[in-house]
Amino acid sequence: MNTIADKDYAAEAAVCQRHVDSLVATHTGIRGAVIATTDGFEIAAHVDSSVSVAKLAAMVSSLSALSEAVSRESKIGSSRDLMIDAESGRLLLVDASTGARKRVLAVLCDNRETLGQALWAVRSCREAILRELEGH
């Protein structure tokens, strides 16, 4: 099972779920979003049924770790955002960690959303999540 269970987790997952739902609801070009732990467990997700959340969460964690390793290797410091520009859309990965709790927010956009709009939306969503979780 690709989920983790502890006491704080339910509250954290609820906060993340609310923000992910609202991100997808307010942007027609955003098809879905997943928040995962950096070791590949789903925390919250809003994607259509054609996408496997468990698999996406694991892949997102691998990508984000690789991106960190490559940045380190290239001496450009810690990695921040990662973008995959594909034929009919984009996948944006941003860090959404608070303290020792490491998370990645992954957002799937189609071509209706420009890169600028998507980045702005994703970063705002991240900030909103962090504000709320840090307040806990």
Partner: protein
């Protein structure tokens, strides 16, 4: 000068990252992150993409060493990393609940490489957990119709890991000689 790609695989905590770090001549590339699945393993970190290290053999050939993540939720990385691999090292943690089942799982996942006799099984923590013994692993591999050498290994010891690679290379040479004959 030739270059060979080898894969280290096995369950979470078997020692893939440790083994590559023990023998790599370059600072290994690691993708370990905080481990949230403490019930599965008490380790602080776990590999989520790959490990990478390099070893130069005495005659100048180079080994590129890739470590996989252990958990099956990362099996897409197993496939990516197996591309073009010459051989596979399956590491076993003999203190795990069912080490024989672990061996079967990873031999099966890497069957394409394993079935052409390019594999070795290294069993760890045999000093504190002698059961199942090496014979049982050999027997279990035979039941899968696979010929794979099995040896005990302490992944923290450089000499142990290098010895395992040497045995793997003999195994691969023998397999290539057989293929040339047939």
């Amino acid at each position: 000068m030739k270059e060979y790609k080898l894969i280290f695989t096995g369950r979470m905590g078997a020692g893939k990252t440790t083994a590559i770090a023990a023998i790599s001549e370059i600072p290994p590339v690691q993708t370990d992150v905080t481990n949230n699945d403490r019930p599965a393993h008490a380790k602080a970190t776990t590999t989520v993409a790959l490990d990478y290290g390099e070893v130069t053999l005495p005659h100048g050939d180079k080994l590129r060493l890739y470590g996989t993540p252990g958990q099956s939720r990362f099996d897409f990385m197993w496939k990516i990393l197996s591309e073009g691999a010459l051989g596979v090292i399956v590491l076993i943690d003999n203190s795990a609940p069912d080490p024989l089942a672990d061996m079967r799982e990873y031999l099966d996942a890497f069957r394409d490489i394993v079935s052409s006799s390019r594999a070795i099984v290294g069993v760890g923590r045999c000093d504190t957990h002698p059961v199942p013994g090496i014979d049982s692993f050999c027997e279990a591999a035979k039941e899968m119709a696979l010929s794979v050498p099995v040896m005990s290994v302490d992944v923290r010891r450089r000499e142990d890991v290098l010895l395992m690679l040497e045995v793997l290379f003999h195994q691969i040479e023998a397999a290539e000689a057989d293929e040339a004959l047939s």
